[in-house]
Symmetry: C2
Subunit: 201 residues, 2 copies
Amino acid sequence: MDESIGIRERTRGAMRGELADVALRLFEERGYDETPVDDIATAAGISPRTFYRYFGTKEDVLFGDLPPTSVDLPELLTEHLTRLGPWEALHQTLRNVSEQVQTQRDRWSRLLRVVNTSDSLRAGHLEQQMNLAQSLVPVLAPQLGEPAAWSTLRARVLVHTALTCFDTAFSHWAVHESDVEIVDAVDIAFTTFSESASQAP
Amino acid sequence: MDESIGIRERTRGAMRGELADVALRLFEERGYDETPVDDIATAAGISPRTFYRYFGTKEDVLFGDLPPTSVDLPELLTEHLTRLGPWEALHQTLRNVSEQVQTQRDRWSRLLRVVNTSDSLRAGHLEQQMNLAQSLVPVLAPQLGEPAAWSTLRARVLVHTALTCFDTAFSHWAVHESDVEIVDAVDIAFTTFSESASQAP
DNA sequence: GACTAATGTGGCAGAGTCTGCCAGATTCGA
DNA sequence: TCGAATCTGGCAGACTCTGCCACATTAGTC
């Protein structure tokens, strides 16, 4: 049957999901740095060696299957660029992501709480963004064709800034969870520049 | 004598300097991930255990004593804020840093080349920026008093964006070293927004 | 239903980073 | 010069991650 390839992947997906759940729960209880992979494995009823067959890294069990990585951002951005300017296109792209995140509010607020308990995790989170950025820059650069020599530099600045807006909005939301919607925070962050960036003192 | 406290710290500083030199050289030859701490230690004629008494982390031997961390950025920013708007003040603050960096062109271009050979290093570099950002936000936030509830969010966006501009300019410079001055790249990066951010397509 | 091949699993050994502990050497201040 | 603070090295250990090999499970075929 043509599903025969799929069944293995499905059970694999289920395993990943359960591992992610178990891990997140343990991290919430004891903290990330204080929870060795061995404990996650035994709590999930597998060997540590097997854990590393599902997630190449301890961090991956947290960041593995979540929106920013599970969405094809370059494609999304390309589409928005047909209708919008660079900055607005970035804004809309990440707005879409945050809309999708909003359907997983719970998981995300739990995750952000865990991330904020560990320096090493924050770093990993940033590294993810770097990778995202690297995939978006080549999409954006051709749209900034002016001096050409500078277009890559400008593209990188815009992309990184957009991701920064996104990220900042997120951690803000994580703290003031009850007061704000994620999407609103993202909008505020993105409009920071047009409003207050170059005001006089 | 009142120097008696100082002499120890001076020899300690010398040791740190030498370790940093040795390490950077080895990293250039073999790559960061391929150079264990043991090798750095033996190359410097000390034991691995002692290495960790000078630098708490393998990363610290690279990032330990360099401009961004060795300058009091909050103070610098505070001063610029008395004369300039938020964005311009950030621009000038980081411009000052890049001027200071320019006096160590060599060391920096070597370092950036090393950093770009390792993913884990990039992450560490970003984490440093996060810490910098966290020290600047409280300085900037009071200057954005409007809705108050959003001022912290906006301050964070501005600060992170500024650091992103700085960082992006740097890696750009690292690649096109011969064509550009660091300070110029920083200026270009910072003016990206006022020029091309919200243009139509 | 049985057989072969692919795939999943577990244990072991090892590299690498980093920490705590203790003993010995070095240096400092009186 | 002597006692005290400090520096150093070695040892053992925790933790993350990898390669290797043997064993079990499962899939597709006849």
